[in-house]
């Protein structure tokens, strides 16, 4: 854990935000856009590879009595499968692979960010917002394709007096539009605040030397909590996706 503290301070002096800095590893330019392979891209690739390997290698030959890694892979699988079933119902089965990939990608993005000197791409609003916006647009399209114009009844609560429509409908639309914002901001804020806190505490512990025992103890606790938050936020991100999917499929 002490190494984790050190890691979050890696190369950045005392600036707790330095860990969020992006730098290019390989400069690439396509059509005038800078799409360089950066440390952010690197950790996305690592997270994807780890997520894939844990599922694919974990299951291995798919033996009847699971190995330890197989239990991990199967637990992840059934957690998301239950989540989709409980929150979306049977109609959600089709979208399970997408939801599962999302969960794994975010989960390992969050967890690998705990490694010293690593980069947490989920602590960047651009990334989380791109994900949330894609989910939002996709789910809206699914809803419209399923229900046609009837989909827009989502914006007017059934049974409300018609006179309230001019107020309720804009409110419901804004509320609906705020979904990708809250989805992305929540993940981004959680990851960023947690990592910043770790970094600050880590620097404290280093600065205070022998007296740094106290912040070090705190640091251990916060690091443990951060692991929990990393997993929980991936879970929440996915479960909210499921809930939005449910709304689009069943219209409440």
């Amino acid at each position: 854990m002490a190494a984790a503290a050190d890691g979050h301070g890696g190369g950045g002096g005392l600036d707790p935000l330095h860990q969020f800095e992006i730098y290019p590893i390989l400069s690439i330019n396509i059509g005038g856009y800078d799409v360089s392979f950066t440390n952010s891209s690197l950790w996305m690739v690592i997270a994807a590879v780890v997520a894939y390997l844990i599922i694919s290698r974990g299951v291995g030959a798919g033996s009847l009595v699971p190995t330890r890694m197989q239990v991990v892979a199967e637990t992840l699988y059934s957690t998301v499968a239950n989540m989709v079933r409980d929150n979306v119902g049977d109609a959600g089965k089709k979208y399970f692979p997408f939801v599962f990939t999302l969960f794994m990608f975010v989960l390992f993005g969050n967890l690998l960010g705990m490694i010293p000197y690593s980069f947490t791409f989920t602590s960047h609003l651009a990334v989380t917002f791109a994900m949330a916006a894609t989910i939002f647009v996709t789910i809206t399209i699914i809803g419209i394709m399923r229900h046609g114009l009837h989909f827009f009844s989502l914006f007017f609560p059934a049974g409300a007096p018609l006179a309230t429509a001019p107020i309720l409908i804009p409110i419901e639309i804004i509320s609906y539009l705020s979904r990708p914002v809250s989805l992305s901001v929540r993940l981004f804020a959680n990851m960023m605040v947690g990592h910043t806190l770790l970094k600050v505490l880590g620097s404290f512990a280093l600065m205070m030397g022998a007296a740094g025992i106290l912040p070090l103890g705190l640091l251990v606790g916060i690091t443990a909590l951060e692991f929990l938050v990393a997993a929980l936020q991936a879970y929440v991100f996915t479960i909210l996706t499921c809930i939005y999917l449910h709304d689009a499929i069943h219209l409440h």
Binding site: V35, F37, S56, G62, T101
Partner: protein, 165 residues
């Protein structure tokens, strides 16, 4: 904050789409089928085992039931046989007792008849003897013959008096 520096926005989204797309493809094509196959196989196996265990248990229960029924039936039959034997014995005993008591009754009445005969005979001979004795005694006392008929009537008178008394 580096998060709000737009320099890398395009690059980040570009790589996000690329990497996420690749991961999605790999999951759908390679990883997920493996997991679902393993899970399905295990679920099927466990369900099958459980079903078989339940079936075997039911079979065992049925066997135990038939066994118990057979035992109960045998027990009932035995009880019935014992009861029938008892009834037969009692009937037999009753019949024999009947016969015996009838025989005894017949013997008793025959004996009674004999006794009555004998006592009548005895009475008759007692009278004869008494008449004879009375005649002889009277002859002795009065010297001369006493009419037999007279003696007989006297004896009868006494006898009658005795029996009436």
């Amino acid at each position: 904050m580096p998060q709000f520096d737009p320099t890398w926005f395009v690059s980040q989204i570009f790589w996000l789409v690329l990497v996420f797309g690749a991961l999605y493809w790999l999951m759908v094509k390679r990883a997920l089928p493996k997991v679902s196959k393993a899970l399905d196989a295990r679920a099927e196996r466990i369900q099958g085992d459980l079903d078989r265990a339940a079936k075997l248990q039911r079979d065992a229960e049925i066997t135990a039931e038939t066994y118990e029924a057979a035992i109960a039936k045998a027990r009932d039959e035995a009880r019935e046989a014992i009861r029938a034997a008892q009834v037969a014995t009692v009937a037999d005993l009753d019949a024999r007792q009947d016969v015996l008591s009838k025989e005894l009754a017949a013997q008793a009445s025959a004996a009674e008849a004999r006794i009555a005969e004998a006592s009548k005979d005895a009475m008759a001979s007692v009278r004869e003897i008494a008449v004879g004795t009375a005649q002889a005694a009277a002859g002795h006392l009065i010297g001369g013959n006493v009419d037999e008929a007279k003696a007989a009537s006297a004896v009868d008178g006494i006898l009658n008096r005795q029996t009436t008394h």
